[in-house]
Subunit: 525 residues, 2 copies
Amino acid sequence: MEVTRSNFRESLPTISSAISKASFLAIDGEFTGLQKGVNLHAFDTPNERYQKLRQGSMDFLLMQFGLCAFEYEATTKRHIIRAFNFYLFPKPFSRQAPDVCFSCQSSSIDFLVSQGFDFNKLFREGIPYLTPAEEQKSRDALESKYNQLDMMSSPAFTSPTGADTAVAKGPIEIPSEHKQYVEDICKQVEELTAEGNTSQTLELKPTSAFQRKLVYQTLKLKFHAGLHLETKTNNNRQRYIVISKVKNAEDQKQKEESRKAAEMEELENAVGFSKVIRMISQSGKLVVGHNMMLDVLHVLHQFSCPLPESYEDFKSLTRCVFPRLLDTKLMSSTHPFKDWIINTTLGDLRKLLENKPFEKPVVESAEGFPAYTTDNEQLHEAGYDAFITGLCFIGMSKYLGTFQSPKKEHIPPSSPLIEPFLNKLFMFRVQDIPYMNLAGPDLQPSRDHVFHLSFPKEWKTSDISQLFAPFGNVYIGWLDDNSAFVSLYKKDEADRVLQNITTGDTFSVVAYKDFIERMQKSSSR
Amino acid sequence: MEVTRSNFRESLPTISSAISKASFLAIDGEFTGLQKGVNLHAFDTPNERYQKLRQGSMDFLLMQFGLCAFEYEATTKRHIIRAFNFYLFPKPFSRQAPDVCFSCQSSSIDFLVSQGFDFNKLFREGIPYLTPAEEQKSRDALESKYNQLDMMSSPAFTSPTGADTAVAKGPIEIPSEHKQYVEDICKQVEELTAEGNTSQTLELKPTSAFQRKLVYQTLKLKFHAGLHLETKTNNNRQRYIVISKVKNAEDQKQKEESRKAAEMEELENAVGFSKVIRMISQSGKLVVGHNMMLDVLHVLHQFSCPLPESYEDFKSLTRCVFPRLLDTKLMSSTHPFKDWIINTTLGDLRKLLENKPFEKPVVESAEGFPAYTTDNEQLHEAGYDAFITGLCFIGMSKYLGTFQSPKKEHIPPSSPLIEPFLNKLFMFRVQDIPYMNLAGPDLQPSRDHVFHLSFPKEWKTSDISQLFAPFGNVYIGWLDDNSAFVSLYKKDEADRVLQNITTGDTFSVVAYKDFIERMQKSSSR
Ligand SMILES: Nc1nc2c(ncn2[C@@H]2O[C@H](COP(=O)(O)OP(=O)(O)O)[C@@H](O)[C@H]2O)c(=O)[nH]1
Ligand SMILES: Nc1nc2c(ncn2[C@@H]2O[C@H](COP(=O)(O)OP(=O)(O)O)[C@@H](O)[C@H]2O)c(=O)[nH]1
């Protein structure tokens, strides 16, 4: 089901009920870019990787979110699926709202349009969102505006936005070029309020903010009460003032109340998609994703709070928002799946899991939900990718059941068989640490057989292999044109390296540990 | 005329001829955002303003460029117009090409979609571009790749991209899970090359880069010459290898040559829109824009070179790329137009200039160009805005002619009457310096009557006015919640301010000059 700004509110109950019926949820995100200015490499530690993604990826936008809720129907032994595809865009809902700046990476944008992604729909119809802190700030701003208005003599003279500061800035002199304009308006208002005139409102032509300011201020001084002013926006996004007569204090108050209600509703809408993340979080359900580290980081950053500087704080935050996470990319590259699955790319994984020793899961779209099928692939639409991810999870869970005696048909997400895969995020392209462990300390494999090598930029793999040839095969993790980490396959040769390779004129070799120490020293200086 | 990636090359001659026939050119740009992280204010000096825009605006993309060429036809006393509307997007043309990251501001994007801007067209069909430096770098990369290939024993084994590094990295061991795959390919190639087989080529299925690498390396070792390998990309953007038989050295060479030619053509296309800017620059024609500072900065930054740190270097660069610039916003707010023109917004300016004492210019679209008219406004399409800007320039030039005796019907852009307005960029929302002077030193009005005031964030305009009331009216240039510049209307009261306002517990007043000095000291520390 496609969810945009226009059907978001009406869809909330459907989303909420899909979540609460689900035995588990699968998610997926699409972004406007992946990373910039940072260099992910094969020997990043989990903390280093976190810091790089925090600094290099969070400026991109998570702008499509896929949620697929899987409900297990015990009688038919199949899953009923409810998939949602949300378009997300931080349209500034009012002038106090944050005017978000985000980055785009041209390769990502190019890739997305080639897959048919509709950016016009995104920008026109994307659902807005606010973090809890932003929501609170907006609430406070509204409160303080109301308080200030209440204290003023003529609360009638208010505009829907920007009034708090504006009101208090006090009268300004009317520059000569605007005198005629303001006088004209006064005349029109005199006519409006003249006895016997039955018109109730007067719409002014769109004008500059400055002219509006002059109108507000002049009418306030000249007409005192009896008038209600409001600034509205026309289809061309020009702003204009509507002046309406108020009969009495009651009428006045009612007009105020209805404006407040409208503003509160506007704020409610602005919180937008963050509500869905709160629902997912509060459900406590297992949340499944494929290669989901960036998805988790973006969801936290965009809808909860800016990612904390400290890696440990990040872990606590994640445990708090998503108490049960499972990464199918990690699961599929771990025993007992590892041996069967050569390619853990989402599309290929799904196909592999339909063949022996695995079994294709039986699923059906719930009524009212358009059917996703694996027959026509819609990969890279977040809703579809979430659906495929869920299928992979079911396929792998089922396989775990075959080792039980008696063999189990259905492994629920709460099964202890799933435990070993929980709360571990796949570490993309890292050589010796398969996952980030959200539930405890990270793995710290020895890197005594890893060396940092710097060299002239003319060097190629063959030069490096040759240098290390005496110690057998090596794995080369390029850092840039001038340096790489080199890891020995034969770990017990490690001791011999520094004894035998003497740093030359053109290159230098340092033990991994010493290299890291130097880096830390120079960065803390 | 709309120009996108698909008709760009064929349009170049039309663009070139339009420019060379023109008596002047009008330009306009649309951006993905305006500025972030910097605070433009009413007392920015030209240098400060430049630095703020350089730091806060250049991450946004100039993604639509309007060019309107105005040709004066003396016989009919009218202008023939040729308007172009270019969509620009830095699609990475190959894997060596820069993968540009750019920023978007949600308010700007929201505004553009509300005006009907088509982002799908932009991202799918935008014309790419390279700065001269980027072009040179790509050329060098290709050269060095060819050189390296020439030195190799088996030049047949190359792929269109990434080959240079790849080739030289040397053979890697085939991991066990890929052995079967590679053997299969070898068998197929043996069949292909078997005597009597008349097939000329073999297309492999799309595979991972690693598998392609294994194929390249294995075939090279096993089959030596007689084969040509090329990596192609299918419609799903998956990459696959095509193996073709080569009859002899001649055939081989020809295949190489045609690949080189294709790569050179690809690079030529990648230079893209920068060619149009070079044409404009080389024409030496007058270039007119409305409120054009950001346009000029973006054009230089995106198509010439990153904006220089030094403001003086920026002036030289601008003079070099655009020797004759004219800003209609500045012109219309300068004597003798100032008195007639209350509103210098582009749309309003155009309307004002159709009424007395001005005269509506006579223009006609050239054959083959869709007619822009002022009847249905398409403001905020860059091509249309450039058209309107040109109209405004003609209107104002004509008016200058009426002061001549005898009255002149047509004032050409080379007229000395235009001189006073040349090479000055309007300074948006600056109080006392109307323009940035590209042709010489900037204005340095005295700011002895300006003060820097800091205060608690509860303060409003009225508090400030009250504080300064003893010295008459003031202009307040807000900096943030806690500070503002305050400028006296009665300049001769300046001396009394610091004598009479003693910095209190909650606020402090400093002369403008002292404030700037302190800032410079603290930033150079
Ligand atoms: N004195 C006074 N000025 C107001 C009031 N409301 C708005 N203004 C001013 O009028 C200007 C126009 O306000 P508004 O129409 O809301 O839109 P804006 O300028 O586009 O923010 C604002 O910039 C405010 O400074 C008010 O109640 N009293
Ligand atoms: N040994 C060798 N490897 C190559 C050659 N051309 C490409 N490769 C490798 O094969 C891989 C696949 O190359 P390519 O198909 O161009 O695309 P890519 O990986 O997607 O860059 C590259 O990553 C290179 O490392 C070649 O001529 N010789």
